[in-house]
Symmetry: C2
Subunit: 424 residues, 2 copies
Amino acid sequence: MNIELINTGSELLLGRVLNTHAQWLCRQLADLGHTVARQVTVDDSGPAIEAAVHEALGRADLIITTGGLGPTSDDRTRDLIAALLGRPLRMDTAALDHVVQFFASRQRPVPESTKVQSLVPEGAEVLMNAHGTAPGLIIETAPGQFRAGKNCLVMLPGPPRELRPMFTNQVVPVLEKRFPLETAFVCRTLKTTGLGESRLEEIIVGPLQHLTVAGLELGYCARTGEVDLRFVARGGGAAELVAGAERIVRGLVPENIYGVDDDQLEAVIVQLLAEKKQTLALAESCTGGQIANRLTNVPGASAVLWGGLVTYSNEAKVKLLGMPAATLAQHGAVSEETARAMAEGARKVSGADHALAVTGIAGPSGGSEAKPVGTVFIARATPDQTVVLRCYNRYDRETFKHVTSQQALELLRRGLLDNEKPAS
Amino acid sequence: MNIELINTGSELLLGRVLNTHAQWLCRQLADLGHTVARQVTVDDSGPAIEAAVHEALGRADLIITTGGLGPTSDDRTRDLIAALLGRPLRMDTAALDHVVQFFASRQRPVPESTKVQSLVPEGAEVLMNAHGTAPGLIIETAPGQFRAGKNCLVMLPGPPRELRPMFTNQVVPVLEKRFPLETAFVCRTLKTTGLGESRLEEIIVGPLQHLTVAGLELGYCARTGEVDLRFVARGGGAAELVAGAERIVRGLVPENIYGVDDDQLEAVIVQLLAEKKQTLALAESCTGGQIANRLTNVPGASAVLWGGLVTYSNEAKVKLLGMPAATLAQHGAVSEETARAMAEGARKVSGADHALAVTGIAGPSGGSEAKPVGTVFIARATPDQTVVLRCYNRYDRETFKHVTSQQALELLRRGLLDNEKPAS
């Protein structure tokens, strides 16, 4: 199946807005077993949209457009596609009712301009918008009108909080019916951390060879501090291939896999702590609050996160963590000893079950020969022991912070797993 | 001038990676006075790249490609374009030297596979890669080969930290020489916060009308918690039009403008504090460290940020900030009184000149009728006074945190400005 995605919007081509629709829709389709062949962005002008849609009509089975369904003068997609397909617009009373109710429920008058959104091309399927006033549209062309086969056009509104639920709840069921996969499709992603992409590949590629020969596809996606490993298989036995691959990889790198599919490391940690009914305190220097920020993005973090100390200055380290000024003076703020004292201090102040501490040199300045920019010490303290990890993260400042927070969270996750092992 | 941007990479069409290149490059070009007409993403396969480049050659003056210049088997852009243009590849000794030195400086052997990156199409201008091994390339076609005019092809490596400096330092000067603007072009962005897009427009559109009639273009870009206001003018008098518009808007909303062009609120604050040689302490509850994280993204933050306390639990508020347990019990963790006590406590603990405190209900749960999810209290304390702001930020959890941290930073910025006024 040939799929084209057309994003409309001058703000995209002026670089004012990041195109998150493209990634999100491509990802949804990939997980359903469909790959987008081409993604195009054009501005809001008539000729640009017309040219892009016309080209796609000659090639694609499925065309998805985003944006241009609103009520203002730069919302032209609906009118242009209606004209291109030779389908006159007619007022859809259900869509109009929806607009009227939308404003009524907010106790606001219906602006005259929004009524234009209820005009839909003849023969279009109307997708009611649960979070806005512009309905989505699905139109099918006749075979031979633009290419030998039919085209299916799906037109989605631009705002993400309108587009996403509409796609998931209303478009996916239609796609599953109109474009049933010819064979079974199974997709599974293992989220790994602590191994580079090429090292991971080296470890698993041999043991998986009999499965890749049998049709298993492997995909790697390296992001800062982690690698997604994606298994895809099609046809009879697809589920077994993917399950077999997962079993083998879990056997080879059991500790590097922190989750599956859309799991995030911070959410995995909040869940592990919640299950154990344990608490965490943080002492961050070079990550500057990023670890706390990531953990508090997870709903329910308040049950496990006692709090955090961003001890950016030496004085804060001494005052808040009760660190001996001598340790700082003797070993320096970026040292194994300081990381250890920070973690132990945070645990004592908080009484939490676990404390995590980070100190390092984010740069761009502040390095020395013995401790160059990028040097980091990460410590994890429990009532029983304190472990310290030294890393060297030579990146720009923001990447440095992200990689370091990832390593710290991973050190904690490993500790939480070790914890689970019965004493031997 | 017709510009097309072609992003290559299967990971983009599988939705594994967000296309940040498209926004970044479009933005850079827009600020130089050039608008991208079309952006296309295709996968790494030969036919897809070939088709996209071939189409663009028939239409575009300037074609920019990203990705596919690396050493592995899915890096095909260089070879395909060389073949398409009929330019045989030859080994470029300067590029090869660069690769050898790149590995030597990292004390690693040169992998044989990376040498392929030194093969460049005949007649190409080679752009040395300051942050990697794949050189960028600029190639000009002869008029009539693909269209009446010439084409200029710019091929950039995929990793952002290689692409961005290469574009800024090496491509921009070439573009300025090869594609001089026919008329003057002036672009200026005012960064505003504290006003919605439509409210801002309402205030300024009338007073600017005589300038828009004379050719000034206005652009608004609303992002979470802020609005960028962009002025563009062309031709004779462009600089005067833009300067006049800026003067008028600064007169109308003087306190809402926190910076220009690429300024970020957190960097403005670090600079204001540094200029005054003043320090800041933070006490964050519902923002969970995000304010500290944003400030510590700014190089030089360590000179002004004493530290931060992420007092997520009530116990942490009492222990770290010395808050009276009675205040918490009587007014609740989310209250004007608690915000005030947090800010004053953070200032006392730290001895910093300013303290900023935030407490609120991020959701999804935890709200009540009197204090629904989204309720926030923000306090700023100085030795002289404490001010508390109540906001209602009804968003998803992550947006809530971002909007709240923005409001808190803005409250601080206003305080730093007031500070500057001589006592009257």
